[in-house]
């Protein structure tokens, strides 16, 4: 607790001097130029957009898949078979994120081009699919990053959901089955309502990881001189990747402060997500007892 407060305090103290001399709106401007200390212009709009979009793509993909895997492992497979499967999923968490990044940038990104082109041209009526400020050919966009992130957060959501689904009271399960429910009906009427809050809390933990992921995103996303067009086929930086990309050049305290200000926003944001997860999990517990 103390360390969190201290970290927050450190971020705040370092960020404030830079924020005071920022010449444009910190929250709504997409511009980021900190080269000239006398004329700092930095805003986090695009960082926020890219961070949220990539994490959302990751969640949209990972949440259903994780739920499917967790249900399959806990209520369909015999435990003897389920254990090695669960182990394999957990192993995904052991892959270093830089490996995911390299794979995403070199293999997945170029391979996704046909799909990305299809979505970008044929389904452009959907706002998140229209427009792109980096080339589709390179695959260095939020779409690719989101898919890689979804794989990275899959194990954490699966693990939490599995544990929760396992805890479903046997009485309820047997009751449902005795009433003539099929296995799927049993899952729908007992396991899912019981495990919902744990599942959501697990997803929030995954979201926290996706928000803060650095190296993989940095390697995958290409940056663009154009501002974000609010499309998943944009490139750009997330908070974490922006800070990491500039870290070797931190020499002036004022321009460093600009990045620390971005870090502060990410800190608060992740904090809020985790608090939300705690709240959801806590509420679920209260209901169950």
């Amino acid at each position: 607790m103390v360390s969190i407060v201290l970290i927050g305090l450190f971020l705040l103290i370092q960020a404030v001097p830079s924020l005071l001399v920022d010449n444009i709106n910190f929250f709504t401007s997409p511009e980021w130029s900190t080269g000239d200390v006398a004329n700092l212009r930095f805003g986090i709009r695009d960082l926020l957009v890219v961070t949220i979009l990539s994490s959302l793509v990751a969640l949209v993909i990972a949440m259903p898949v994780a739920m499917g895997i967790a249900l399959f492992l806990t209520h369909y497979l015999p435990p003897r078979v389920a254990r090695p499967f669960a182990y394999v999923i957990d192993l995904l968490a052991a892959v270093p994120s830089i490996v995911f990044g390299l794979w995403g940038a070199k293999v997945l990104g170029p391979a996704l081009e046909p799909l990305a082109t299809f979505l970008n041209t044929k389904l452009s009526w959907f706002p998140l699919f229209s427009g792109n400020n980096v080339s589709l050919a390179g695959g260095g966009n939020i779409f690719t990053a989101g898919i890689v992130l979804s794989i990275m957060i899959l194990p954490i959501i699966t693990a939490v959901s599995r544990e929760v689904f396992q805890q479903t009271p046997v009485m309820q399960i047997e009751g449902a089955l005795a009433l003539g429910a099929t296995r799927w009906e049993m899952v729908r009427t007992t396991v899912l309502p019981f495990g919902r809050s744990g599942y959501i809390a697990g997803s929030m933990l995954g979201l926290g990881r996706a928000l803060g992921e650095t190296v993989a995103v940095l390697l995958i996303l290409r940056s663009s001189p154009l501002p974000s067009s609010f499309s998943v086929f944009d490139g750009g930086y997330t908070f974490a990747s922006k800070i990491a990309s500039a870290a070797p050049e931190f020499s002036e305290p004022l321009s460093t402060g600009a990045y620390i200000a971005a870090g502060l926003v990410l800190f608060v944001f992740t904090f809020a997500v985790n608090a939300l997860a705690r709240y959801v999990a806590g509420r679920g517990k209260a209901k169950a007892s």
């Binding site: 400020n133 050919a137 390179g138 290409r222 663009s224 070797p248």
Partner: protein, 373 residues
């Protein structure tokens, strides 16, 4: 004793590895053993046993080779180079934390760096000695169009978005007989601040006859394309993306086997292929702006070279030293190190993607190094 020596070498290798990973632009192992004992005898070894230097990451790979050569030429002597960026290199030199600094650009008089450096040297002026030259390659990915010829004006148009397809008349005019696809050009640039970008833009400004209007600086100003981090990512992006073009340090172009454009220099004439010889030719013709032994280069004379067969896009990295060290021991060691660096150290430098200093320029460097006290 023997074990200690091994320990020292091991430590150096580890330090070297750290250095390389820090600058993130390595693709070669430190090569040793290319020093002849004959050449080594010319060096007056001695002085401070372990020098410290820091700065530009563009010359980190060359430094690793210099250190290896220095160690085999001067028994028991060594140098620690920390590639933490040009800015830090100058700062730490002025702050007396290092014995000399490495930088992509010379000391800036307007920022008082020249004065501060003289103060650090207790009144003796600091000298900028360009000991490392690295050609920048224009790399691209257009299957079936090897050896594309480009001139500065066309490159400027591509990197500022005025030319957007590969079969644009501007490119076709320079490449008669080649079939160029109608694909879109994907411009890839360095998203991090880098001396490579700075030199590339300076080249465009000096040689494009006014076509490049976006200015210079460590950040790319072209306003088109997509950024990737570091030489590794930009070269990988070109490799993976059809129709892409970027600028890379030579070593990355070679190791990724990318297509490298020939450049038509300001003299017009035949397109020049990037090679040690063609880069050396433009270094030979460089004019010096500095006075005396302060070898500040007039980079415009490289960028806008008109010599037939000279490759104009060459980056110079400087060693910033005191002309007179208060501590004579340090001066002696710096002198020995730099002597080795510009003689034995230059051997095989092209394998690391640099261009060895040509003989005529080497003489100038040696004269300056000899004058260090």
């Amino acid at each position: 004793m023997k074990i200690q020596r091994h320990g020292a070498v091991l430590g150096l290798v580890a330090a070297g590895a750290l250095l390389l990973s820090a600058c993130g632009s390595d693709n070669n192992a430190p090569a040793g053993g290319n020093t002849t004992s004959n050449a080594a005898s010319k060096v007056e070894c001695g002085g401070k046993a372990k020098l410290k230097a820091s700065g530009s990451s563009a010359q980190a790979n060359a430094m690793t080779r210099f250190v290896t050569a220095y160690e085999s030429a001067c028994d028991g002597q060594s140098l620690d180079y920390n590639s933490n960026g040009s800015g830090a290199g100058v700062k730490e030199f002025i702050g007396k934390q290092t014995d000399f600094g490495g930088s992509d650009s010379v000391l800036n008089a307007e920022k008082k760096e020249t004065d501060d450096a003289a103060k650090r040297c207790d009144g003796a002026p600091a000298w900028n000695l360009p000991a490392v030259f690295g050609p920048i390659a224009i790399t691209y990915n257009v299957p079936g169009a090897d050896g594309l010829a480009l001139d500065a004006a066309t490159i400027a148009k591509i990197f500022s978005g005025a030319v957007t397809t590969w079969n644009d008349p501007a490119i076709a005019a320079l490449n008669s007989g080649k079939t160029l696809p109608a694909d879109k050009i994907v411009v890839v640039f360095r998203s991090d601040e880098s001396g490579t970008t700075d030199n590339f833009q300076k080249y465009l400004e000096a040689a494009s006859k006014g076509t490049w209007t976006k200015g210079v600086g460590k950040a790319f100003n072209g306003g088109v394309g997509e950024g990737a981090k570091g030489n590794e990512q930009t070269s990988a992006a070109v490799k993976n993306t059809k129709g892409a073009i970027t600028y890379n340090e030579w070593s990355f172009a070679k190791s990724n086997k990318l297509q490298i454009a020939k450049i038509i220099n300001s003299g017009g004439g035949e397109p020049v292929e990037l090679s040690t010889a063609s880069a050396g030719k433009s270094i030979e013709g460089v004019k010096i702006k500095g006075t005396g032994n302060d070898l500040i280069l007039d980079l415009k004379s490289i960028y806008a070279t008109e010599t037939p067969g000279a490759y104009p896009l060459v980056l110079a990295a400087y060693e910033i030293v005191c002309s007179k060290y208060t501590d004579a021991e340090v001066g002696k060691a710096v002198k020995a190190f730099l002597t080795v660096a510009v003689t034995d150290g230059q051997k095989g430098l092209e394998d690391a993607g640099y261009s060895p200093v040509p003989a005529s320029f080497q003489e100038k460097l040696l004269t300056a190094i000899k004058a260090i006290a």
